[in-house]
C-alpha cells in the first residue's frame, strides 16, 4: 500500500516555489523596507523595558505637557509621562493586539474553513455560522464584550479576532475547495490516504500561501481596529498604553500638546504601512501570476 507512489507529494512540490518566492521577496526593496520596519517595531516592543528611557506609567506632574526635547524626545503628556517611552510600550500593545487577533482568527477560522471545504455535509452549518457572524454588526460585539469583560488587551484581541474569523473561514474554505480538485489530491485519495493525512499533508500546506497573504492584510487592519476601539473608549487598560489609547486620550488635548497626537499617530501609520508593504511583497512573491511583476 505504502509503496504505491504518491505522485506529487505536497512538501516536495513546495520547496522549490517557496525558495523562489523568498528570493523574489528579498529582491523587492519596498517589501524589505517594510520587513525592516516591522522587525524594528517588534524588537522595540519586545525590548521596551530595556530601551525605554522611563517606565511607561511614571508620572511627573512638574514636567507635564512638555514639548519634544533632548530629555523627552517625543515630549510629555498631561501627567508628565515620557511620550517616547509610552510609544515604545504602546507599540508592544498594538503589535500584540495585531498578532494575537490574527492568531485567534486563524486558530478558529482555519479548521472551520478546512472542514467546510472538505466535508460537504458540514458546509451548510459552517456557512450559516459565517453568514450570521458577517451579518452581525462588529461594533455591537466589541462594545458588548468590553461591557462584559471590561476594557483590556484581551477584550480588544477577542473583539477584533472574532470579527476576522469569517474572512479566514471563507479564504480557507475557498482554497480547500480548489485544492480538493487538484490532481495530486485525487491521486492521494486513490492511494487510500486518510482524510486526516489529506488535510494535513496535502491541503493545508498548499493553502498556507493564501493564509499568509490574508494575515498580512489582517494584521494592519487589526492594529487600526485597536485604534478605532480605543477611539470609542474600548481600548486596553491603563496605565499600560497602546498607540490607539494614546491617540484617543490626546485628542481633547490637541491644542495644548499637538506632539501627543502626532507621534502615536505616526507610529500607527508607519507600523501599518510597513505591514502593508511586507504583505504586498509577500503576495507578489508567493503569487506572481496575480501581480505581473
Amino acid at each position: 500500500m505504502t509503496t504505491v507512489a504518491e505522485p506529487v507529494t505536497a512538501p516536495a512540490s513546495l520547496a522549490g516555489p517557496r525558495r523562489r518566492a523568498l528570493r523574489r521577496l528579498l529582491r523587492n526593496p519596498l517589501a524589505m523596507t517594510g520587513l525592516v520596519v516591522v522587525l524594528v517595531a517588534v524588537l522595540a516592543a519586545l525590548l521596551a523595558d530595556l530601551v525605554a528611557p522611563y517606565p511607561a506609567a511614571r508620572t511627573d506632574f512638574s514636567a507635564a505637557l512638555q514639548p519634544p526635547s533632548g530629555r523627552h524626545w517625543f515630549g510629555t503628556d498631561e501627567l508628565g509621562r515620557d511620550q517616547f517611552s509610552r510609544v515604545l510600550f504602546g507599540l508592544r500593545a498594538s503589535v500584540t493586539v495585531g498578532l494575537a487577533a490574527v492568531g485567534l482568527s486563524m486558530a478558529v477560522g482555519v479548521p472551520l474553513g478546512l472542514l467546510a471545504g472538505f466535508y460537504r455535509v458540514l458546509d451548510p452549518f459552517v456557512s450559516r455560522l459565517v453568514d450570521t457572524m458577517l451579518a452581525f454588526p462588529f461594533l455591537i460585539l466589541a462594545v458588548g464584550l468590553a461591557a462584559i469583560r471590561g476594557a483590556s488587551l484581551v477584550t480588544a484581541v477577542v473583539a477584533i479576532g472574532v470579527a476576522e474569523i469569517p474572512l479566514v473561514v471563507r479564504v480557507t474554505r475557498g482554497e480547500t475547495l480548489r485544492l480538493r480538485e487538484m490532481d495530486y489530491v485525487s491521486a492521494a485519495v486513490a492511494s487510500g490516504a486518510s482524510d486526516g493525512v489529506l488535510l494535513r499533508r496535502h491541503i493545508l500546506p498548499n493553502a498556507v500561501n493564501a493564509l499568509i497573504v490574508q494575515a498580512t492584510v489582517t494584521i494592519p487592519a487589526a492594529i487600526i481596529g485597536e485604534a478605532v476601539l480605543s477611539f470609542l473608549g474600548l481600548g486596553v487598560r491603563p496605565p499600560t498604553p497602546s498607540l490607539g489609547v494614546m491617540l484617543a486620550s490626546a485628542q481633547p488635548l490637541f491644542r495644548d500638546g499637538p506632539w501627543m497626537v502626532v507621534f502615536p499617530g505616526l507610529a500607527i501609520v508607519l507600523l501599518t504601512l510597513a505591514f502593508n508593504l511586507l504583505g504586498d511583497g509577500l503576495r507578489d512573491a508567493l503569487d506572481p501570476r496575480e501581480s505581473h511583476r
Partner: protein, 536 residues
C-alpha cells in the same frame, strides 16, 4: 421669576461673576449671564447639547441635559435664582407652611395659559403632582415620597399634605417635580406625553429627531411673551466636546453646553466667543465599598472576596488613601486647573455651606504611610478602582493611581463602560468607584440618598445611626441656620467614617457666540434661554 426681581438678579449675577472669575483663576472676565446685552427680536438660536436628552416628559425624565430643554418649555412652580434662593415661577409667592409643618399651601399665578391655550389652575397643578407621584416608573416619586396628598383649595390655590415635615419640598418643586403639564394634553397623549409635551413656557415643543435635534418655537400664549426675543430654539446634540467647540467657532451653533476644560482657554481667548461660568451644585469623588455585599438598599453586610479588604474594614486605611491624594494637583493636571478642589457635598455658593461643610484634610503621603503601618497592612496595598471608560475618566484614574502610589497603595484601574459600572457598583461588586453627583439646590438632595442606611444611592453600604438621625432632623426643620449646622455635623461624621472621598467640583461652562445675548446660567448648570436673542 417675577419681572420685578430681574434687575436685582442681574446685579447679583455680576457679583457672582466676579467671584466665579477669581475662583477659576483666570484673568478674563467670566460671567454667568449675557443678560447685559440688548437683543433684538427674531432669529433661530442654535444650542449644542453634550448628550441626548431622554424622554421629554417631566414625570419620567432623568437626565441633567433634559432639564436644559425643559427650562425653555416647561416652567415650574418655583425656580432658583443666582444666589440659589427659591423664587416663585408659576406659583404666586413662596409657599406658606402650617405650624406643624405638614401642610404646604401654594397660590398659583393667575392668567397663565398652557401652550395649547388651556388655562393653568389648581386642578391642573393637582393633576400633574399626582401624576409625578403615582405614574409607573416615575422618576419623581421618591422626591415626592413625603407627600400624602394634594388638595384643590380654590381654583388658584393648592394645599399639599405631608406625611412629615419636609424642608426640601420647595427646592424639589423648583425642579422637574414642580413642572405642570397641560391636563388636556395629558388626557390626549397619556404615557406618550414625551412625543408632544405641552407645558407653560416661553417656547413650545415643535419637533424632535432622535440623536439629532429638538426644535422649540416661541409660544404666543406665554404670560411673559414680551420678554421672549428669539423665534425658535434648536437644540442640537453634539456629543464630542471638540466638535462642539469647533461648531461654535465656525458659527454653526450659537451656544454650546459644557465645553471641555481643555477648551476653556481657547474659548476665552477668542474675541468672537464668550464664556459663561458658574459653580456647580454637585461634586465628584470616590465612593468606597464598606458593606454593600448584597446590593444597594439591602442591609449592610461584611464584604467577601474579592472585594473585602482593609479599605472596607479599617477607616484608617481609607484616611490613608485620602491623605495620599493631592486635590490641587488632580485639578491642575487632569482638568487644567479649571475646576475646584472639593472636600464635601455642599457647594461653597450654597446658603447651607459652612466652615464645617468645607473642611479639608491636607495632602500628606507621609502620614498616609504612617496610618497604613498603624493599621498593620503590608504596603503597597492593592486596591481596585472603577473609573468611567472615557479619556477624562482614565486620566483621573491615572492621576489617582500615581498619587496613591506615594501613599503606599497599588491602585488597579478598571475602566468600565458607564452602564456596566453602574450595574456592578449597585450590586456591590467593586472596591472603589470614581463617581460624582450633578447636585441639587437643597443640600438634602446631595446627602440623604448617599449616606443614610436606606438611601437609594448608598452604594457604599454605609450605615451610621447618628447620620441617619441628623439627616431626618435636617429635613424636618425649616430653620435655615439649624439646617446649616446639622449638615456641618453630618459632613464631619461622614469625613470620619469616609464612605465617600470628595475630590473636586466641576465648574459649569457654557460657550456663547458674541452675537448672542440674554443667555443665563446658574449653579444648577442649566442653560436658560428665555430672554436670549441676537444682539442688535
Amino acid at each position: 421669576m417675577s419681572p420685578l426681581l430681574r434687575p436685582a438678579a442681574v446685579l447679583v449675577a455680576f457679583a457672582l461673576a466676579a467671584s466665579a472669575c477669581s475662583s477659576i483663576g483666570s484673568d478674563e472676565p467670566a460671567t454667568s449671564t449675557t443678560g447685559d446685552r440688548p437683543v433684538k427680536a427674531g432669529g433661530t438660536l442654535r444650542v449644542a447639547l453634550a448628550e441626548e436628552p431622554d424622554r421629554l416628559d417631566p414625570t419620567l425624565a432623568r437626565t441633567l441635559v433634559g432639564r436644559t430643554v425643559f427650562s425653555a418649555m416647561c416652567e415650574k412652580l418655583y425656580d432658583i435664582n443666582e444666589k440659589l434662593e427659591i423664587v416663585p415661577q408659576l406659583a404666586d409667592g413662596l409657599p406658606t407652611i402650617s405650624a406643624d409643618g405638614k401642610t404646604v399651601t401654594i397660590k398659583i399665578r393667575s392668567g397663565v395659559k398652557f401652550a395649547d391655550g388651556t388655562m393653568l389652575d389648581a386642578a391642573a397643578v393637582k393633576t400633574s403632582l399626582d401624576r409625578h407621584r403615582t405614574l409607573t416608573g416615575s422618576a419623581r416619586a421618591s422626591e415626592l415620597s413625603s407627600v400624602a396628598g394634594v388638595d384643590v383649595v380654590d381654583p388658584s390655590t393648592v394645599a399639599i399634605r405631608l406625611k412629615e415635615p419636609f424642608a426640601p419640598l420647595a427646592a424639589v418643586l423648583a425642579d422637574r417635580a414642580g413642572m405642570i403639564m397641560s391636563p388636556a394634553a395629558l388626557k390626549a397623549r397619556g404615557e406618550d406625553f414625551a412625543s408632544g409635551p405641552v407645558c407653560v413656557g416661553p417656547f413650545k415643543f415643535s419637533s424632535r429627531v432622535a440623536q439629532d435635534r429638538i426644535e422649540l418655537v416661541k409660544d404666543p400664549n406665554y404670560y411673559d411673551a414680551d420678554k421672549v426675543k428669539a423665534d425658535k430654539i434648536v437644540y442640537e446634540i453634539i456629543a464630542d466636546s471638540t466638535t462642539r467647540f469647533n461648531n461654535l467657532r465656525s458659527g454653526d451653533v450659537d451656544v454650546i453646553d459644557r465645553p471641555a476644560a481643555t477648551d476653556v482657554d481657547a474659548l476665552q481667548a477668542d474675541s468672537n466667543l464668550r464664556l459663561l461660568t458658574s459653580d456647580s451644585l454637585g461634586y465628584q469623588g470616590i465612593t468606597l465599598n464598606l458593606a454593600n455585599r448584597d446590593g444597594v438598599t439591602k442591609p449592610p453586610a461584611p464584604l467577601t472576596a474579592p472585594y473585602a479588604g482593609p479599605v472596607a474594614s479599617d477607616a484608617r486605611v481609607r484616611h490613608a488613601f485620602e491623605l495620599s491624594l493631592d486635590r490641587e494637583a488632580i485639578n491642575r493636571v487632569v482638568f487644567r486647573g479649571k475646576y475646584q478642589p472639593a472636600c464635601g457635598p455642599i457647594s461653597p455658593s450654597s446658603p447651607y455651606s459652612s466652615d464645617a461643610a468645607q473642611k479639608c484634610p491636607p495632602h500628606d503621603p507621609a502620614q498616609a504611610k504612617k496610618l497604613l503601618a498603624e493599621a498593620g497592612v503590608t504596603t503597597p496595598l492593592k486596591v481596585s478602582l472603577v473609573v468611567a471608560n472615557t479619556p477624562d475618566g482614565r486620566r483621573l484614574g491615572e492621576a489617582i493611581q500615581a498619587q496613591a502610589r506615594e501613599g503606599g497603595f497599588d491602585v488597579q484601574l478598571q475602566p468600565t463602560e458607564f452602564s456596566a459600572a453602574l450595574d456592578a457598583t449597585d450590586a456591590g461588586k467593586y472596591q472603589m468607584f470614581a463617581i460624582g453627583w450633578s447636585g441639587r439646590v437643597d443640600p438634602d438632595g446631595n446627602i440623604a440618598s448617599f449616606v443614610t442606611t436606606q438611601g437609594s444611592l448608598n452604594i457604599a453600604g454605609y450605615s451610621n445611626p447618628d447620620v441617619d438621625r441628623m439627616v431626618a432632623q435636617a429635613r424636618a426643620t425649616n430653620d435655615q441656620a439649624q439646617r446649616r449646622d446639622l449638615y456641618g455635623q453630618i459632613i464631619a461624621k461622614v469625613q470620619e467614617d469616609l464612605p465617600l472621598i470628595y475630590l473636586y467640583r466641576t465648574v459649569n461652562f457654557t460657550g456663547v457666540s458674541a452675537k448672542v445675548g440674554g443667555v443665563k446660567m446658574y449653579p444648577d448648570g442649566i442653560i436658560r434661554v428665555t430672554e436670549a436673542g441676537f444682539t442688535e
